[in-house]
Amino acid sequence: MSFLEKIPRLDRRVLYLLVAIAAVVPMFTPLGLPIPTSREVEGLFDYIEELGPGSTVLVAFDFDPQTVGENGPQASGVLRHCFERDVNVLITALSQNAPGMAQEMIETAAAEYDKVNGVDFCYLGYQPYPAIVIMSIGQNFRIPFPQDFYGTPLDSIPLMRAKQNYDDIDLVVSVAAGWVAESWVTYAKERYGCDVALAVTAVQAAQYYTFWNAQQIVGLLPGLKGAAEYQAMMKGAGMSYTDAPLRGMDVQSIEHLLIIAFIVVGNVGFFAERARQRREAAAARAERRGER
């Protein structure tokens, strides 16, 4: 049996090992591959750039720790961008395991920019049934969130005193790993007319391009690639940025090349195996004819 014929029988753990090597090695030797930006990522970046100091963006942490590898850099990028431009930020965490993780990310970013809770940002926390929460914000923030995450009544929070509903905010950015992103488009955008942008996992991205094409959202960050593009734009604008997603894209590119190689080699192996089976079948038929 030739090498090509052995490929289909290759232990899958060899593939895992190769994927692991391709993930680890570029971390030590960054390649600095270029990261061209796309229109959908520029859409969100430019929108926040155009907001003046004192504008308000609602950042929704609609993901759990499972997808922090993708959604974490997206949320961090948007939060830092808002703080950098003195845009006020309201934060919700409508995914069940998000509140603690969101709190840590918010407090880290706020400390970096000397932002004060209740003045520059307000963390509203979690409430169940995201679609109902999103709808009721359209009437008043105080219906789903009578208090903020820390238990302070909203009317006692300086930033929230004049905030009633979507009319008082400029943009919603849903950083999501599930269907909650769609609820923001359906209710906040289509029902209440608030501009919405989405930062979603790559798995979801393909289906949400329809929202982008139909101009239902002002921007779309697809997975780690979107986060890397956003951080690259922040870097280009001279802002503080995190290079984790930028370094990650080096690995991503190498991994994709490796997977393409797996597909090509796997197919070559498949056809080699099929040719061998055909040869053997032909030989067996010839042998049977010889016996007769």
């Binding site: 753990r13 993708e70 395991n97 009578p146 208090q147 790559a202 393909a206 139909a214 690639k225």
Partner: protein
């Protein structure tokens, strides 16, 4: 050693325990998986009690004297009658109430978001004079062919078969894009974990 070393070590060991499944199923993996499920459920329960039950029912009722919150409170409690055999029928009333409100509130914006807007942006200026015009022709043709693939009132033969075949190709391209994004997503999650293990835990790489 900084204050984060111990929690990072615990997180790293559990990450490695989950990765051990790639070699083969083992008790370490099972333990890590069970712990993740248990912790997640426990955390969610505490968050739910603290932020929802206490702040929207118990506190308004007993501290602020808002008597009207008793009504949704009772409706919520009636849901639990599903757990009894004799009174299970009562649980249908709050459920009907909930479904009625949810469907009524969702119907109009959902049709607007998923149907009307999508149709609106399929009615686009077409032409061969510009790249945008050509792209718009492709969009219209592909939408038409994809929809026709699901039209079963005529046999998919001859011209109809050709249109339907283009439709399935378009759908396959969409599936391919979806699969490509899925691969990218899975690799992204691996990258996140590798950066955590090498950077936050071992300190072998420095990320700004």
């Amino acid at each position: 050693m900084n204050g984060e070393f111990i929690p990072h070590t615990v997180a790293a060991l559990f990450t490695l325990a989950i990765f051990s499944f790639l070699w083969k199923d083992n008790p370490l993996y099972k333990a890590a998986e069970s712990l993740a499920v248990g912790l997640s459920a426990g955390y969610f329960t505490v968050i739910l009690i603290r932020t929802s039950l206490m702040r929207t029912l118990i506190d308004p009722l007993f501290e602020e004297g808002q008597v009207l919150v008793i009504i949704p409170g009772i409706l919520g409690l009636l849901m639990y009658l599903r757990l009894t055999r004799r009174w299970t029928w009562i649980s249908r009333y709050p459920l009907a109430f909930y479904m009625g409100i949810a469907s009524g509130a969702a119907l109009s914006p959902t049709i607007l978001a998923y149907v009307v807007r999508q149709i609106e942006y399929t009615i686009v200026p077409m032409g061969f004079g510009s790249w945008e015009g050509i792209t718009n022709i492709l969009i219209v043709v592909m939408v038409f062919c994809s929809l026709f693939y699901f039209f079963f009132s005529v046999p998919h033969k001859g011209v109809f078969g050709g249109v339907s075949r283009i439709g399935i190709w378009v759908i396959m391209v969409a599936f391919g894009a979806q699969f490509g994004f899925t691969v990218m997503a899975r690799i992204s999650l691996l990258i996140g974990r590798v950066q955590f293990l090498l950077g936050d835990w071992l300190g072998l790489i420095h990320l700004e």
